[in-house]
Symmetry: C2
Subunit: 581 residues, 2 copies
């Protein structure tokens, strides 16, 4: 090693030791008689001290060193007079007797500081410099730690990690595949996996019992904010289990991670059905760091002459505790908020329950005191509360009120990233009707098992069939989801038929899996967790990009290496493809 110690480990225990450190010039201060340099490596920062009186020559050398120069320095560990107790090495400094410049640096395009002056684009182009910043570096160290913990936890639970192939076959269901032309099989293509779903099911049929994999998956989507064309999943599958076993196993994993990484201990995670999630939160990934559940008013507000409510499929509201003092301006803002096109409500009704017990609502001319008392009762409101009500088409109104609920929570500071509220949403519907294509789609995927008790409904009212499918949700973010799988060939056939697959298509796409079902498939199920998202959550960030070493931008480009790029004509020829416009 070129060094005896790292820049993060020397303390008063090492006083008077001769040491050699390597690292980057982080900061440099010339105080006339003394010069100080902060030397940085992955492990920390150590102060180097140079004294003009003691060693003029080296002090002058030190003054020539620029930011981000790479040094190897030798010296003696001394106790600092001016201690910095915020960092582990803050009680010592090195009296340097020798400097070797391992490499120089031109001036970086932005400062290597937590609060850098570099914009997003510049930092992405020079990602290797961005990664030097402590905040970014810590994200990747966290990611590594989380990965190690996940692997060891699952290993101890008898899961084995098995690598499934990356070069697989394109399937039309789901999102768009990235494809890879095969040179050896002209006109044919591999596809990159959107998930190892069928392979993990085959591993269960092969008898592996408990499988997991931290695995790169790929989706050729038009990228929205915070989506990446390649992302990492914690992919898992178990045999001879019920849904209960999967929930318990992965709740165990999640608790372990919260304990190890955040030192937070959870009791049992709340479980709510999809139906209740929609009813009380208007969304299948509710943020339950705060209550503010939906309350339905249909029964008590209709037929009182207020046309908006009379015509509405659903009248629902939330109670904002202690918000009675909201000003006219604030209420107007909320009204503007719900009327934004992406929220889609037509207006907002409010009711103030004043601290003196009086009631003031925006619909006073339609409802008398006694009627408004019923609202209060329904919401279990207390004096000082503000009730906000939306009305309209069921789905739209649920979605809009869900957004308003989050907006109110943001305003009230209820969404602290240091607070975590995990829950399971269970009993998802098996199918989803698509108006546009006039057919059912699998809500989760075509291999998800219906609840046994709902199987009789499959033919007469498919939309009502619930699945043994579940999502793990934390702070309003879906961390992962899974299901118990179909393991019977006939039921799988019926399901594919329901999804509009012809016999031939089913055979062409999933023939190998259907075939495998004939040779003793065990009952099985699994889950897939978004690893990037999980790391971001544990790190207290909204952005998965911060937790990926070399992310792509919203156009799917890696601006650092400038990819994708043109390839040579020779390559195109070998692959038997031509580019057209």
């Amino acid at each position: 090693m070129l060094r005896t110690h790292t820049c993060g480990e020397l303390t008063l225990k090492n006083k008077e030791q001769h040491v050699t450190l390597c690292g980057w010039v982080h900061k440099s201060r010339d105080l006339g008689g003394m010069t100080f340099i902060d030397l940085r490596d992955r492990y920390g920062i150590t102060q180097l001290a140079f004294n003009m009186e003691v060693n003029k020559e080296i002090c002058e050398q030190a003054r020539t060193l620029g930011r981000e120069y790479v040094l190897k320095v030798t010296g003696i560990v001394k106790e600092r007079s001016n201690k910095n107790l915020k960092i582990p090495t803050g009680e010592i400094e090195i009296f340097v007797s020798n400097i070797e410049i391992l490499n120089k640096s031109i001036i970086p395009p932005f400062t290597i500081e937590d609060n850098t002056d570099g914009g997003e684009e510049l930092r992405m182009k020079y990602r290797y410099l961005d990664l030097r910043r402590n905040v970014v570096k810590q994200n990747l160290l966290l990611r590594h730690k989380v990965a190690i913990e996940i692997r060891n936890y699952l290993n101890h639970q008898s899961f084995i990690e098995i690598e499934t192939p990356v070069l697989i076959k394109s399937t039309p269901e789901g999102a768009r595949d990235f494809v890879v032309p095969s040179r050896m099989n002209p006109g044919e293509f591999y596809a990159l996996p959107q998930s190892p779903q069928t392979f993990k099911q085959l591993l269960m049929i092969a008898g592996f019992d408990r499988y997991f994999q931290l695995v790169k998956c790929f989706r050729d989507e038009d990228l929205r904010a915070d989506r990446q064309p390649e992302f990492t999943q914690i992919d898992c599958e178990m045999s001879f289990i019920t849904q209960e076993d999967i929930l318990n196993t992965f709740e165990g994993l999640a608790k372990h991670l919260f304990k190890i990484i955040k030192d937070i201990v959870f009791k049992e995670f709340l479980r709510i059905s999809y139906a209740d999630a929609m009813k009380y939160y208007g969304c299948d990934k509710p943020d339950i760091r705060f209550d503010m559940k939906f309350v339905e008013l249909n029964e008590i507000v209709k037929n009182k002459g207020f046309k908006v409510f009379d015509d509405a499929e659903l009248v629902i509201g939330i109670c904002a505790k202690g918000c009675v003092e909201y000003s006219r301006k604030q209420l107007d803002e909320l009204t503007e908020f719900v009327k934004k096109p992406q929220i889609g409500a037509t207006g907002l009704v409010y009711l103030r329950y004043n601290t003196d017990g009086s009631i003031k609502s925006s619909v006073d001319k339609f409802y008398n005191q006694a009627e408004l008392d019923k609202w209060i009762e329904q919401f279990k409101a207390l004096p000082g509360d503000l009730i906000l009500v939306l009305a309209g088409n069921k789905e739209k109104t649920q979605k809009a009120l869900s957004e308003l609920r989050l907006e109110m929570a943001n305003r009230l500071g209820f969404r602290d990233p240091k607070v975590f509220a995990p829950l399971w949403v269970v009993d998802f519907p098996l199918l989803e009707w698509d108006e546009e294509t006039n057919r059912f789609y699998a809500k989760h995927h075509p291999f998800t098992a219906p609840k046994p008790e709902d199987i009789p409904l499959i033919d007469k009212s498919p939309a009502e069939v619930r699945a043994n499918a579940y999502d793990l949700v934390v702070n309003g973010v879906e961390i992962g989801g899974g299901s118990i799988r179909i393991f019977d060939k006939d039921l799988q056939n019926r399901m594919l038929h329901l999804l509009g697959f012809s016999e031939e298509d089913a055979q062409a796409q999933f023939g190998f899996l259907m075939n495998a079902f004939q040779y003793g498939a065990p009952p099985h199920g699994g889950i897939a967790l978004g690893f990037d998202r999980l790391c971001a959550l544990l790190g207290g960030s909204d952005s998965i990009r911060d937790y990926i070493a070399f992310p792509k931008n919203n156009a799917g480009r890696d601006v650092m290496i400038d990819s994708p790029a043109k390839i040579s004509d020779v390559q195109l020829k070998e692959l038997h493809i031509t580019i057209h416009n």
Copy 2:
């Protein structure tokens, strides 16, 4: 869980317990009064017993169960009268009181046995059934265990695992890339990485100090036996180190794996230079489980009238201890062996050193007793030994004798897969001349650093420049290799120039790396180990395919899922590509 125990854990300690097991019908024996079923899961096999007298009904049910049926059985653990001490559960059996058929199976296309009757092609098509066989299953369990051990070992050495991107950019150097057309950037392509080489160097520039990754890599080659288009590397890089540190670190890892997996303890690995490897073994990955080093005879055999030796650039031989009794027929076989086109020698000279001290050679008419005595001396041969000599062009003769050495070792049983002989081959040449294209290629890759003492040779005799490059070789197989990297922009430029890159090409291909070198690149180096190959070695197999869950065949096809395959016209259109012939 559907079960209380697995099929691998019940022993006499569980006697008289009520248990529930799940698994597959492995074997079934009907002995008239009794029926026995071996129930199999990932963890083992447990014998189920059914007695016609005790419970006629369930015994008759048991007799209807076919091979590979999936069962859930409940019963009582009993001590066996007829014990099988070869398996952990061999002292007990289950008196079954209830059988639930979880799934049926049609008859598998081959037997689920270590010695199956299924041919390679059939087993690949039904890989999920092949994986049920104990020998194949154990391979994947070993692979998982090796991966966990590697990760924890490196983690404890402060290495952090960082995922580098899979969708990167095509580079013309090296093997052919697989490419991925970009839908969002028409006419442009991503490439799949042949290794994360440039990214791990950027991670060193970013200051991560110690990086590793178990990572899928891709190479679009015409597949030879036992090559896969996608394979897994243990990819590593370290900063502020010398070659010595890398060798010690990864020798430590290798020793750890041999200890944990094979219970073999190694002292220091042998290290030999590339030059010596070629001189003594004629190959850069010598199998040193046995000695049989090359001995050069040029000095003592020339100018005695034997034209073959006189015209030869190199006359070298090996001494096969105690093989003097090789028959004429055996010697003819060896001659045929070396004359095969892929070996390429023109003939074989032998010398028998008989146990009575007399000497008999195939070139007696050219060499007298005194001259042949010098051969004996040169080889340090003992009575009873057989000397085998080849002559000709240096490179070809080394290669041919290397093959003959391995052939003799095979015949003599010197290549026991349970014996392991690791070594480091160091000081590889930096460059390799290619006759066909009339230019130098990087022996390792363009980022490898020359030995500092050889830098002056770069311009006048590039072929003599040695690199700080090294391979880890075990039993004649290259397990991995690496190098100390160039970290200076000017030297890297010089190197690319030597490799025939124009300024423009260098900038277009590696501009981002060259650019990064300007911002304080630390001294660094690394290694990449073939994970599939390492697992095969530890498992005692020659074939990496046995250690990959879903391998592709020699045509790059996955015959199970039938990939690659055609994609739809819609997909082609979206990707702006057309297929031509």
